[in-house]
Symmetry: C2
Subunit: 200 residues, 2 copies
């Protein structure tokens, strides 16, 4: 680890910048922070090993102001080729991304990206467990939603179908995540219900 | 994806800088490039979904020279908390790191880091498949070596034991990776022999 100059925010990134004003209930955390908190909890309790992947960045220039320090002075964000989260639960390969909306009645498909859909298709094809954690922030409701269903809806949209997923489908075909004290977004019970449903 | 100024090397990072003079046979690739090539091949042939994780970087400052471009002008490398590679093969969670040495008789333990050992312990505990790809570059020999054995040797070294792993142990208890035309470092057959050995 390195020491940051005082006053800088080491967590600053396009994603956290965009979501920094979103808050959920008493904790004031964004969806990414809630998932990171849950993952840290699961790791510490030996329940699962799930990490957020680092944001891919292409480094063009590095300065070495002293011999123990590398300061990157030119770099660019590059498009990821996978989802943000993966890991292992009871031997199963787990892979997901997280999306949130302020809409009450649907989750717009513009929140999703083709590379995430393609990656999750590959994951399912190779026997992995793929899903999305979908947050309706105005409702304070979160669902684990199977990737297989979202992939179908995405492919239908490409052929001219609906450009959003109705709340009714997500709440009926998803697995609701119940909030807890620690961790706030305790998605593991919903994931275990999903695994039971998949019969794996 | 972004366009790079001409002459810049978008793959530049501490790791690739350090290994850029290492070459293997006719291909002139470093170990990381060989593994990336194999992973791309497996993905395209629907054999496995295994990716290298991006190098974790903490972004402190971003400029926006025009509205479609974000240029990172201050950032720092941070220590990873996992290994470099993970993914899914036939539903199994796969997790590994890669190490190479010019030594002929042993692999020094200084090539490994505590966070990699700790992460692989967590992976094994949760039913994942963990290993290292170990390269003896002078011999042009590569082995898939079970994480469970390396963890034992690491823990013995912390208690005063040997600070390296003898070549004889790696070649006898590892699973040799045979070179091929495409991909050059075809580690999937060795991984399948390892899975068979584990009886999973």
């Amino acid at each position: 680890m390195i020491n940051y100059p005082s006053g800088v925010n080491p967590k600053r990134s396009p994603k956290t910048q965009a979501s920094k004003n979103v808050s959920y209930g008493k904790r004031g955390m964004g969806l990414e922070e809630l998932i990171n908190e849950a993952n840290s909890y699961y790791l510490s309790k030996h329940l699962a090993v799930i990490h957020k992947k680092p944001t891919p960045i292409t480094v063009v220039h590095v300065d070495y102001p002293d011999r123990s320090m590398a300061k990157i002075t030119e770099a660019y964000y590059v498009q990821p080729s996978t989802t943000d989260y993966n890991g292992v639960l009871d031997g199963h390969y787990i892979d997901f991304d997280a999306k949130e909306t302020k809409n009450k009645t649907n989750m717009p498909l513009k929140n999703f990206h083709q590379h995430q859909i393609t990656h999750l298709k590959n994951v399912l094809e190779n026997g992995g467990i793929g899903f999305f954690i979908l947050g309706f922030t105005t409702r304070s409701e979160f669902y684990l939603f199977p990737a297989s269903i979202l992939i179908k809806i995405w492919d239908e949209a490409l052929r001219g179908g609906e450009k959003s997923v109705p709340y009714s489908i997500i709440s009926q075909q998803g697995f609701q995540i119940n909030s807890k004290m620690i961790p706030s977004l305790d998605y593991l019970p919903a994931l275990k219900r999903f695994l039971k449903y998949l019969n794996v």
